[in-house]
Amino acid sequence: MVDHELIERAKGGDDAAFGQIVSSCKGWVLGTIARLIGRPEDVDDVGQQVFLRLYQSLGQLRSPEVFKPWLYRLTVNASYDYLRRRRRRMETRVADLSEQQMIAADMAEAERRRDDAASKAQVRELVQTLLAGISEEDRILLLLKEVEGLSLRELEAIYHVNENALKVRLFRARQRVLRALPASGWGAVRGKR
């Protein structure tokens, strides 16, 4: 947790204080981004976007108590922007491949790898493929809940949406992923682990 005094100093234009905030939050911000976007090679770039936005908008922070959900929100927004950009790029590149072909291609590629890193890569790609069937907003929401382990109350603070609406969205997103799970190849991947 970031010290409130540090936040106030950074709000006042103290760059050293801002640097300390970045150092103390960098770990979980980059980790969250990595799991939301699923591309470790692009994490630094998106993370810098988050802290750049933080620097620009820190003066608008009402009170230091809401700093964490606020930084989560910036993280979510930057990840969402990245996913949208990536989807546009992928749509132009693989517009002629069906989803099943893409899954098969991903699995065939993943199955060639044999070690532990390959197994993790398989899981990563499998989850990415499963989540490709839902919108970027739902994907991020689902990952924040299921993978990052955020509570509904924390999600409420990030999204400014009431708990019931969040529950409905989460339920629908989870159901869609569940429906796609049997055909995803998870059984085979899990068997090898």
Partner: protein, 121 residues
Amino acid sequence: MANDLPTDNNSELERELDRLFAAYREAIPDPVSGPDFMPTLWKRIQARTSLAANLRRWAEGFVTAAAAVCLLLAFLAASSVPQSFWVERAVASPDELASGSIPEPRTLEIAAMDNGGTNLR
């Protein structure tokens, strides 16, 4: 493609999905940022703030120029001699009116409306 997941048992599928998410969490631990993370971040911050400062300077220059043009136009409007109307001149100088130096305004007399009001003299 191998598939040993139950398709009819929902609670078992739910557990499998939880396992998959747990495996995903394990597969992507918190990454260690590159050594140039902070230097690059500060460069980007400086680039953005200098861009904002440039835009502000341009905007201020534009506002100053617009204000100067407004002042100039106001000055020009105030310094030009206004063309007074005949009535104003006649009231201001009745002697000139009597001597005929101020020409009387042209008048239009509307003829009787019996011809449809089109006969103007």
